[in-house]
Symmetry: C2
């Protein structure tokens, strides 16, 4: 049984730095070294050095006139990342349902993890008995699935090359394992605005995927429809248009108007 994080040892100086951040409130947005020292029962020199780190990191600022400290704007940027993740899931959820009903196939919402893999963060399974089971929370290699192809297509080139350098394992006869061939495939994804993967990960499994953009146009997630090839083969183009339209609607909700 795993210990809760409350039980593992933490770093006292990091704990103290976080306590400083939490000392600020709406009623008391500005605090000085001495006040923080008294409030947190720490020596002033300790508080001073902690503030130096927080300030260098942008998590607090010092007002040059009053010498008081306040929370820094970098917190707004970091918090924006949190809110954006919450936003995507919540905003996308009804569209996933809608697309699953219309297509009668499994629909997933996918993002990149940090190490060049992709992961489903939400999904609606197909109502049919024959369907691919939910893969929420499980990481996958991106080169052989439609959502992965979309995410790779819109990565900065350097990051893409780093991922390709790790190799492209073969899963079926149809898996693309040649980096040059994959780059061509990604060019096509950019051109047509969606990706298709037919039996590249698993025999009998096909999917389409389209990019979801934020207000700046950055691709931050992907919506995909997947199912057995015997059902999807004949309606791939139709599903691609439907998925692309749904992705555009979600992007619009996120502030993308391009």
């Amino acid at each position: 049984m795993k210990k809760k994080k409350g039980q593992v040892s933490t770093l006292r100086s990091v704990d103290r730095a976080i306590a400083i951040l939490k000392a600020f409130s709406e009623e008391e947005p500005e605090l000085g070294v001495t006040e923080l020292s008294q409030r947190l029962e720490l020596p002033k020199s300790t508080v001073y050095r902690l503030l130096a780190s927080l300030q260098r990191g942008g998590l607090v600022d010092q007002d040059p006139e009053t010498e008081k400290y306040r929370l820094g704007i970098e917190l707004v940027r970091l918090a924006g990342l949190v809110l954006k993740q919450i936003d995507v899931r919540q905003i996308a959820r009804p569209y996933l349902h809608s697309l699953a009903e219309t297509s009668e196939e499994t629909v997933n919402l996918t993002v990149l993890t940090g190490d060049g893999k992709v992961i489903n963060i939400d999904g609606i399974p197909s109502p049919r008995m024959v369907r691919n089971v939910g893969w929420i929370g499980r990481e996958m290699l991106p080169h052989c699935i439609s959502s992965g192809k979309v995410l790779l297509a819109y990565l900065p080139q350097q990051q893409l090359e780093r991922i390709l350098a790790k190799g492209l394992p073969r899963f079926t006869d149809k898996t693309i394992t040649d980096p040059v061939r994959l780059q061509e495939e990604l060019n096509q994804v950019r051109q047509q605005g969606y990706a298709v993967a037919q039996e590249e990960l698993e025999v009998g499994l096909s999917a389409v995927a389209a990019p979801i953009r934020n207000h700046e146009g950055t691709v931050i997630a992907v919506i995909s429809v997947s199912g057995p090839s015997f059902r999807l083969s004949e309606k791939i183009s139709e599903l691609a248009q439907l998925t692309k339209r749904t992705a555009d609607e979600i992007s619009y909700q996120l502030g993308y108007t391009g």
Copy 2:
């Protein structure tokens, strides 16, 4: 000449913890221990303990299914404090201008500092030649100025008592130095919704102030009008109503509808 914070020594472990926070991005909202270790060129055990502190503090969370880390919701709360401060100044600014034009006196925006003092964070000077000069950034004791009385009036009782326990220095014959008398004064402020200070800080100086509330009704700042007593004495009531109405308009802009 003071050193910039970039030049003073900081705490390496706090710097590292902040580097972990900054490693997350919109494109890569989920990162694992090993990925962070590689990205930041730190041993996994070091990253693990840093994450333990950040997680206990709520600045990151671990997804139990994927074991990946993401930025935590506490960042949203802290960032909210930053935005609220920015909001108050920006939202209030045009109202300060308007009140300065209408009253033809100096108008200030005031908040509490952590140690029981108050400070002006914005202000519009009177257009007249005879006026009190700007006191932006300078701390004052609250008991003898109108904006201080408002802020004290809406403090939690414990916090108020802690401040009163520090003593009430006399500045003029009219300064209130008796805590019982001040409590009565603060009761009156709560009843009438504004405060008056006439020559309590300085002979010849008078002011009125009214509370600015956030969407929850919490008093977070104060707007005040001040000037020489020979001008203000006869129009104190009128200025009080004008100031109170301006404060209410700002409060409404901040979401207060009560």
